[in-house]
Symmetry: D2
Subunit: 336 residues, 4 copies
Amino acid sequence: MIIQLIEEISTTQKEHIVHKVESLGYQLSEVTTQKGHYLIAVGKKDFDIRSVGRLDGVKDIHWVSDGYKLVSKKWKVGKTAIDLGDGIQIGDGSLAMMAGPCSIESEAQIKSTIQHLLENNIRIMRGGVYKPRSSPYAFRGLGIDGLKMWYELAKANGLKIITEVMQVSQIDAMLPYVDVFQVGARNMQNFNLLDALGAVDKPVMIKRAMSGTIDELLQCAEYVFSGGNEKIILCERGIRTYEKAYRNTFDLNAIPILKEKTHLPVVADPSHGIGLRDYVEDMALASIMAGADGVIYETHQTPEKAFSDGQQTLNFEESANLINKMKLTSNLRASF
Amino acid sequence: MIIQLIEEISTTQKEHIVHKVESLGYQLSEVTTQKGHYLIAVGKKDFDIRSVGRLDGVKDIHWVSDGYKLVSKKWKVGKTAIDLGDGIQIGDGSLAMMAGPCSIESEAQIKSTIQHLLENNIRIMRGGVYKPRSSPYAFRGLGIDGLKMWYELAKANGLKIITEVMQVSQIDAMLPYVDVFQVGARNMQNFNLLDALGAVDKPVMIKRAMSGTIDELLQCAEYVFSGGNEKIILCERGIRTYEKAYRNTFDLNAIPILKEKTHLPVVADPSHGIGLRDYVEDMALASIMAGADGVIYETHQTPEKAFSDGQQTLNFEESANLINKMKLTSNLRASF
Amino acid sequence: MIIQLIEEISTTQKEHIVHKVESLGYQLSEVTTQKGHYLIAVGKKDFDIRSVGRLDGVKDIHWVSDGYKLVSKKWKVGKTAIDLGDGIQIGDGSLAMMAGPCSIESEAQIKSTIQHLLENNIRIMRGGVYKPRSSPYAFRGLGIDGLKMWYELAKANGLKIITEVMQVSQIDAMLPYVDVFQVGARNMQNFNLLDALGAVDKPVMIKRAMSGTIDELLQCAEYVFSGGNEKIILCERGIRTYEKAYRNTFDLNAIPILKEKTHLPVVADPSHGIGLRDYVEDMALASIMAGADGVIYETHQTPEKAFSDGQQTLNFEESANLINKMKLTSNLRASF
Amino acid sequence: MIIQLIEEISTTQKEHIVHKVESLGYQLSEVTTQKGHYLIAVGKKDFDIRSVGRLDGVKDIHWVSDGYKLVSKKWKVGKTAIDLGDGIQIGDGSLAMMAGPCSIESEAQIKSTIQHLLENNIRIMRGGVYKPRSSPYAFRGLGIDGLKMWYELAKANGLKIITEVMQVSQIDAMLPYVDVFQVGARNMQNFNLLDALGAVDKPVMIKRAMSGTIDELLQCAEYVFSGGNEKIILCERGIRTYEKAYRNTFDLNAIPILKEKTHLPVVADPSHGIGLRDYVEDMALASIMAGADGVIYETHQTPEKAFSDGQQTLNFEESANLINKMKLTSNLRASF
């Protein structure tokens, strides 16, 4: 059960509500975000919620039987759009496109990518400065210095930055230079990281883990929301199955299901999803038709020379082509 | 290696080719289909294939290193279209649409379905008369009598029939009444059934098994082809993964990959694919964008009363809506 | 619900029972096996089963809510032992050991294997004469002639034969020469084959499909049982997962679970289970500790020359070693 | 390639080696642990390693082609035993047994568990004070205060503590009170946590992720090792598959495979592995037969009242029974 409180609630009013709900055998968690003030009540007993709903200080109240609460569509029926500033939104009904290299490598690479994005009206740039790598001996990214260099160039060109944060201690240093924090698939259930991202006022995109269930992904979003941050985006990026013909099994089923279960925007990552360059376009377009609010993909001037993920990265010509087709596909779907 | 022979090859010519290839350490299988006459050579030794290619009686020759040979795009670069007669094709570049109930139940049900299909210009009707059921105590279909009744009504209305064949002994009886034999997911690797379907001159649609790999599916098609029947359609219908939010995980990755590896048409079955009615439309449209040559789905006048699979079956209004959107989606993709 | 009828039931008595049960809204299937005569009632309405239980002609009655009925431990609490004759049993509390090559290849190979088995007191020999192969161009087995040759040699040495049957039309010809029919993983849900094996009076061992669930495997056993044959053995042989370090993921969890759910014997196949020779011993011993009633594995005089599955086949020295350890392990477990 | 350096290596000697190896096109990482000093060289060019091996300062050198290096059996052929002090070891050839509750709940619960362990000669106690929970609203453990209380009681009774660490910032505070740090399945690829645990001189047990591959698990161990800590234990605890009959699919195949690939000890967790109390015993015994160096499982005085994981937790009677059988099983296997 979710109880939204009025903004100007008094201590007495809140205590009265808490007392009432706890007396019904429910455990309460208090959640304060940028946008609201909530009590989350977990329990089993059935009762008439109007008896709580009419108490002073209650703005709204709903049963939400799922394990996740505030991210559920049972709580908020409409769609949540995430505002990145400068008129750039994710989840507002238009298609959000995010592109860039797997790893940020050099100033020249950033510049060539920015030029490509500008030419194609893409306003959100992806790239990794902290890279989770299977091997400890592999390239782990340029770190905070790479991020700062990237930020200067991006800002000067009106681009927003989405990049992965790998641990709690990186958040503060990254904060001024990041527009969307990305939680990688391997960290989906890094609950401390999710808690900490709940305490910042920047959008967070959570990628589904390689074997993450739909339900778990939503619970992870609930961690960030209940930590205080309502600005959450979900991302499907491929799961693990028995099939070896592709790197991952991009699970497009997740898109309509997530959009039915949550009010948060849902984005597709076809590059990691299928993991093979030749099929990224098909899967990107399919994900739009399946209802994705956005597409994030990898592009690089010379994919064969990329520090990482070259085999799934588009060159700029392929990328420009894809952007054009994505727009047409998005327009068709919007007309349905 | 595939050696295509000329039609009018003489015994001496063929013996000469066989002798030459076997002397190189290769094992030969002879394949005669409706459309061609081939020798399939399996071996390891490297040699200049022109030494075989220039022999009398050889029409064409190619290395095909995959486990599957004749169904590979390395053998035939273009696309194979399957002709059902009366101008109805699958794989000719247009979108093939196939719809109907899970099970054929009654004359009234067939008639209502046919009317719905005619109103929407759908010319291939699906339906099961032999039903593979998990439980021996469940409804197993109307059998050959149901098929005959259906055939009369379909023929009178210019519709083609696609229906599942479950075992070798059913083929002969079904043959006059069927336009496309469907091999179900549970029978994908029923090699005797595939062998037997190689001996008929009717199109065969093979569904990917619940844990069938891309490679295995193509090898199963090779069984039918090498048995003598080139008229093969492949169908993706969802695989088994850890995720429990949907009945199956509809694997759209399979579509572009199959179309890269084989010249055969590839069809998508979103009804079984995701297994939940509310998401069939999204997945059907996504599969078209992913490159499917056709879509097969379940529709019923009153899905809630269907003998089987009601939870994934569209009613006629939903079906009509879907058909309209599929056409627009197919048109957009064709324009790319 | 299962209603066991008395042997000498009269037509009137049976009609009376049928009438009563159908009037309660239940659908009835009649099952007659080597050992009993049953009515299987499927329905939803709750009622006091004693009202049926006290009717004339009823020997026993039980609710069984699972999808599978007669194979359930809710029906038969004890264990079913399968008698192969000559004092050889599977599921009688001792450990059944079955060994032999993947494929029957030649008289010499059969003879060397038989000698090895005799030296180690193994009395059930495995081997394939019909081989399900991924590729149509691979060796498909010696067929019925190979089986006859094998039978003569096995019989002369007091050995029993377990071998795979792939299709209905093979059953009659194989019947005189087979002691246990094996249904392969790819045919687990070949319902026509299961139906037909329900009509013979020979033991049937059903292998779990590569993505077969525990529930599905039991329903497949129910097919054979309801077809009239109570002599059924279940076999775990590895499932498909994302892990590529082994050929299959041998699922030992299935063993205690199956033994809790069914009265049928459960056998483990570590050779296919893990698919790598070096680990067959560890997995065989582990499966005994997990509660398997028997172990079936592959052995060959010269595994590196075997026609198929050489990489998972033990040589005779390894096999003899394993047999010794299996006996000691089985003895320890029996002492618990 | 791994180059072990002599302890008293001079700067000049090391520079000479580095120069030589880099000139061959290899990238070097320097690793210093409690026990050794290594250079890890990653590259592709083939050369005679004796040309490096005979340089001054080189103690040992080996090619290790796997992605993981120092944890590979290609580097260290024998077995690594982890010494917890007071004569308690993991991986020394005897069976290590670790037991205790899922969550540390109270002083009374700790005391009753300790008494049970002492009565059965178990000297390593497991329990969680930081609990990774799917839902943000669930019990998250008693934290550092719970750990301190537990430590006092454990120490007084000569027991060692194994408990999960969830994030880098917890390590310092936990360090004095922990004998083995456990990295949970959800954190297997939390590379920052692995790096940080590489910097402490306490044993670390890494649990395989729910969809972690064998190769990835070994690479995660390489993170800890290359960070400077050689005291690593691996743990199999069940993976995600399509099967829904058990909570996880306990993957015993992993045990012999890991023991073939690495010199590190391998432990089995049957409680999480199968996730159902009734089958924990069978799976524990099977894991010993498969070659596990130890077993870690959950026990609680009153499992039905446990704060978490009660459905997979043994009561003390079941636990005592299991311990007895584990010893007998371990003895049998040691005799092979």
